[in-house]
Each structure stands twice: as C-alpha cells, then as structure tokens.
C-alpha cells in the first residue's frame, strides 16, 4: 500500500516539469489553432461575416472531397508499402550480428540525415524519362519508349515510401527487439512452421510497433508537401498543395483555414483508428 503515495508524487513532479512545454504548446500551437478555427468560420476573405460557408463549400463540392479522398488514399498506400518493405528489415536487424546491425541502422537512418528536398530530387533523377529506371529497362530491351513514372501516383507513392521509411522501420525495430527470441524456438519446437510462427507469434507481438510506425508514416506521408508537389507535379492535387494554393496564391484565408481544419479532423480520425487498434493490441504486445 505504500506504493500509492509515491506514485502520486511521481505524477505531480511530472506535471510540474511538463509545464514549460505545455505553456509553449498552449501559446504556439493551441492558440494559433483556435485562431485558425475562428478564421474558418467566416464567409468572406476579409473575415467580417460569420458563417459556415467555407465548410459547406468544401463538403458539398465533389472536387474538394475527391482531393481529400485521394490524399487519405495516398497515405494508406505509402503506409502499406513502408510496412511491407520495412518489416523484413526490422526482422533482419534482430537476427544479425552487432556489426551488421550498425550497418542496417545506418542505412535506415541515412535518409533522415539528408534533406527531404535532396531525397526528392534524387527521385526525380531516378524516375525521369532518361532516369535510371527507364535507361536500364531500355538498354535491356524490355521497353522501346520510356514509361512515364514521374508525375504519376505510382511515382509519388514510391518516393514517399522511401522518404518516410525510417518512421516505419525504427518503431518496428524497437518492437521486434522486445520479443523474447525463445518464443520463436518454443513455437518451432512445438511443431509450428516458420510462417505459422510468424503469424501467430511475431506479428501479434510486434503490433504496437506496427501501429506506431503506421501512424507516423501515415501522418508524414499525407502532409509531405515537397515530395508530393515535386514528384506529383502540378496537376496532381493533394490537400497540402490545395491548402497552399488557397492560402498563398489566392489569399483566401478563411477557405484555407476550413480546409486545414477538415484535413486535421480527417487525419485525427484515421490516427484514432490506429490508436484504438493499438489499444486493442496491448493484450498481445504487453506494452
């Protein structure tokens, strides 16, 4: 019973220490967010007439909704690619020697150490008409004329998947590291094959990492303005570019504010699905 007062102490110290950051967030995040919300409740660009016109405009306009839909879909695609490609790397990391581990960590972290702009330009070089992929395919005689990779949905997904990959791999590495390797052996010795062991043991136990990785990757992918616009081009409209267009080029701040709020809510909805899944997976993962 003596533990209860001690743990209460710990909590109160935590709150006190968190106060500066809380204040910082209040001033520079919550307050601007409220201001944004306030602005979005105006029907005219000067911000004089109150109303829900901006929201109605967005929610009744099939085009705007399609932009939102394609952005959310893009996030899902990127997350899926990252998960499928990132999981084996994380799995491998737990099963190699310390030397190889360092190399893997370095490779995973390397993209984070170069600027997004540089990484994105590299993808333009790779995906371009005379880029590495087209040049290789042409020299192998597989294609006659270059295929269009740049400025396509496919190109955006691939580029974003590489750019955001560390956000998926790192939580996975941590989660897989927490799994007791003996469980694998136990499963095998009890007669389960490697696939069965993976699906029944490894995957469920790594779920917290999967969900954390998916949340991070998803949020980063749908808001990645630079990669989306450089690899996707001017005719592929996603929410960040739509927002930028309304706010910067057209100076239509109330509509831009409404777009932001709707986008924020949509993302929050998706993220809360992830966290709910995460909570449900706690029974498995023991985190």
């Amino acid at each position: 019973m003596g533990a209860a007062p001690a743990s209460r102490d710990v909590i109160s110290y935590g709150m006190g220490l968190a106060a500066p950051l809380a204040l910082f967030f209040l001033l520079f995040f919550v307050a601007p967010l409220l201001q944004l919300f306030w602005l979005s409740l105006h029907n005219d660009t000067a911000g004089l007439h109150w109303g829900l016109g901006q929201y109605l405009h967005f929610l009744t306009d099939p085009f705007s909704l399609s932009v939102l839909g394609s952005t959310l879909l893009l996030g899902a695609e990127v997350t899926a690619v990252c998960l499928v490609l990132g999981f084996p790397i994380a799995w491998l990391y737990q099963r190699v020697g310390p030397k190889l581990q360092t190399i893997i960590i370095l490779i995973v972290l390397l993209p984070l150490l170069t600027s997004v702009v540089v990484r994105t330009f590299a993808w333009i070089v790779i995906l371009g008409r005379q880029g590495i992929i087209n040049a290789t395919l042409q020299s192998l005689g597989i294609i006659d004329t270059p295929i269009k990779l740049l400025y396509t949905q496919f190109g955006v997904v691939i580029a974003l998947a590489q750019v955001q990959m560390p956000l998926m791999t790192l939580p996975l590495i941590t989660a897989l590291g927490r799994i007791d390797p003996n469980l694998d052996d136990a499963s095998c010795s009890l007669g389960a094959g490697s696939w069965r062991t993976f699906f029944k043991i490894v995957l469920p136990l790594s779920l917290p990492g999967v969900i954390a990785g998916c949340t991070l990757t998803y949020a980063a992918a749908i808001t990645a303005f630079i990669t989306q616009s450089l690899v996707g081009g001017g005719q592929m409209l996603f929410m960040p570019m739509y927002l930028y267009q309304q706010a910067s080029t057209l100076q239509n701040w109330p509509f831009a504010a409404a777009i932001s709020i709707i986008f924020l809510l949509a993302v929050l909805a998706v993220v809360s699905v992830f966290t709910t899944l995460g909570r449900m997976s706690r029974g498995y993962g023991g985190v």
Partner: protein
C-alpha cells in the same frame, strides 16, 4: 505551478502595452529590410544592388530577407502597424493585392531622380518597376531542330508527350494562359478559348509542373523538350550547361513588371526610398543586365547589350514592340476561378 495571478497579470499587461505602443517592442534602429525573391534574384541583389546602395548611403545597414511575394504580403499583413519588411518586391498580381490591401506607400515620384527616365510601362506611382521579367518559349536545341516561333508550335503533333507547362499558381502559368486565350480570340476577361486550347494540348503534355522552378528540373532530366519559360531562369540553366534555348514568340514575349514598393508604416522610409532609387539607376541596371544576371532593364538610359540585345530587344523602341504587357487588374478579378477550373479540368 509558476502561473499565479500576479505573473499572469504582468504578462498580460506587458503584452497589452506592446500592442498599444508598438514602438516599445522593437529597437528603433532596425536595419533596412528588403524582401527580395529567392534564388538568382537574391544573388544578383546581394552582388550588385546592396553594394551600390551602401556606397551611396554611407554604409547604411541593410539586410536581404528573400521570400515569395505572397509570403511578403502575409508577413506585412500580420503586423501592419510595425512591418518587419521595409521594401517589397512583387510580380504584377501580388503587387495589386498589396496595393489593394493598403500595404504600400505611393512612391515619392517628385523626389525621384530616375523615375522619369523609366520606360512608360515601368512608371507605376505606387512602386516603380526596376526590372522586367520576360516569358517566351524555351526548348531543348538537341531535340528540337527547328526553333519554334509561335506559341501555337506547342500544339504541333511532333511534340507529342514533350511539352511542359506550369499550373496557375505562378505568375508565369497564369500569364501564359492569358496569352493563349488572346491567341485564340479571348482576352484577360475571357480565357475560355485557352481552356479549350489546353484540352487540345493534352496529348502533347508531358508534365504540369507545380512551379516554374520545377520546369527547369524537367528540362535537365529530359522529361520535356519545350515549354513556356522565364528568360532569366533559362539563362541560369544555360550557364550550368543544360541544353536549352529561349525564343521570343512572334506573338510577343510576355513581360511582367517586377515592381518595388515602400511598405506602409516602415520605420526606415527614407532609406527604403534610397534603396529603390539605387535600383532604378542606369549603373545598377546595367550591371544587372550583364552576365551572369541578364535582368531586363527598365531605365531607358541603359543601352541594351549581350544576350538581351540578341534574343529580346536592341533598344527601348524594339522592346516596346516585342513585349506584351497584360492587364493584371482584370486577371486578378477571375484568377481564383481559373485556378479552380484548372484544378478540375487538367488531369493528364
């Protein structure tokens, strides 16, 4: 918790006082801030305009704070009473927005020694144009053997899948659309013909870039062979060894006035005026016209030379004949509707 009533009151009072007496919150001697554009503009201004200004004004302190027009407007708008910028540089569309939002002061024309020497189109009482930007056709001479001569050449079947354009976010994109409308019988008030023309251009379109800068990359990567392009941007690519050439189409090259403005309520009004004066002098404009900058001058006393004389105009008279100026007041009225339409209709 540190946040008791007293500290809260102090903070509130301080914030209130700063709001009521904006002078309090800023040191009086802020250096002159000139928001030029990013990239080659910044380089040119750092190398030529700033030294010229310093020399003429006893080494007055000044800083370049490069940013896009729209960001300049947003920043000044956010602090109208105490703007963080003294001198703004604008493309024609944003210039009208800034003037419309009452963010700039009229230029003291009567005090200016150089204003009267400017070409007529550059004499803007709310802020003169020290430079022109010119948009024409850009092409890769290795892939396009006969140089194009007209905007209409973009529609030629031989350029199937080789044409690049930008969307309407940029001045270049919007200006180009208006020019296409004019070519097909439209005007600044009616761009329907241009949208029809874009529909016909679709088979030729290889890329719709998000901004003019991205077009340059597409040339470098061989993604496109021909596009509308900014004269200065092309010169930079050329200097880097990319095979690109610029031609003024026979319909006339689109000329944008890049105007320079004194920000309303600027604490450095006098120095701001001096900086703009420096930008209008024949010396600075000549230096900026020479390589590597190749910025088109607006002072009629500047003798055109080099690449500008070769591909654009030998003198002011020819410049007036070959350049097309557009009515951005009219364009701004409908620009948002056009952008909306472009978003919806142009999918390739």
């Amino acid at each position: 918790m540190i946040l008791n009533r007293r500290s809260l009151m102090t903070t509130a009072l301080t914030l209130g006082a700063m709001k009521a007496f904006p002078g309090l919150s800023f040191a009086q001697a802020r250096p002159l801030v000139f928001a030029t554009f990013t990239g080659s503009w910044e380089e040119a201004h750092k190398a030529v305009l700033v030294p010229a200004f310093r020399k003429a004004n006893a080494d007055a302190a000044m800083v370049l704070d490069p940013m896009l027009s729209v960001d300049q407007i947003a920043k000044v708008n956010a602090a109208k009473a105490n703007p963080p910028i003294d001198v703004m540089l604008h493309d024609p569309g944003p210039a009208l927005v800034a003037i419309g939002q009452d963010l700039v002061e009229p230029y003291p024309v009567e005090k200016s020694a150089y204003y009267k020497d400017l070409i007529g189109e550059a004499q803007e009482p709310m802020g003169p144009a020290p430079f022109f930007q010119v948009v024409g056709l850009t092409y890769n001479p290795e892939a396009v053997k006969t140089p194009p001569t007209s905007w209409a050449d973009l529609w030629k079947p031989e350029f199937k899948g080789r044409v690049g354009i930008t969307n309407l976010n940029s001045t270049l994109g919007t200006g180009w659309l208006v020019e296409i409308a004019k070519m097909r019988g439209g005007s600044e008030a009616n761009v329907d013909p241009a949208f029809k023309a874009l529909e016909e251009l679709k088979p030729n379109l290889a890329a719709v870039a998000a901004n003019p800068g991205a077009l340059a990359t597409l040339f470098q990567q061989g993604q496109i062979d021909i596009s509308p392009g900014n004269f200065n941007a092309i010169q930079i690519l050329k200097a880097r060894g990319v095979p690109v050439e610029f031609v003024a189409p026979k319909e006339g090259a689109i000329a944008f006035k890049t105007t320079i403005h004194i920000v309303k309520n600027s604490p450095n009004r006098e120095l701001a005026f001096k900086l703009i004066e420096a930008a209008l002098t024949p010396e600075v404009q000549t230096a900026l016209m020479n390589p590597p900058y190749l910025i088109v001058p607006t002072n009629s006393k500047v003798t055109m030379g080099g690449e500008i004389a070769r591909v654009l105009a030998k003198d002011t008279a020819e410049l007036k004949k070959k350049f097309v100026f557009q009515d951005w007041k009219k364009i701004n009225e409908q620009r948002s509707a056009w952008i909306d339409r472009f978003n919806r209709e142009i999918k390739i």
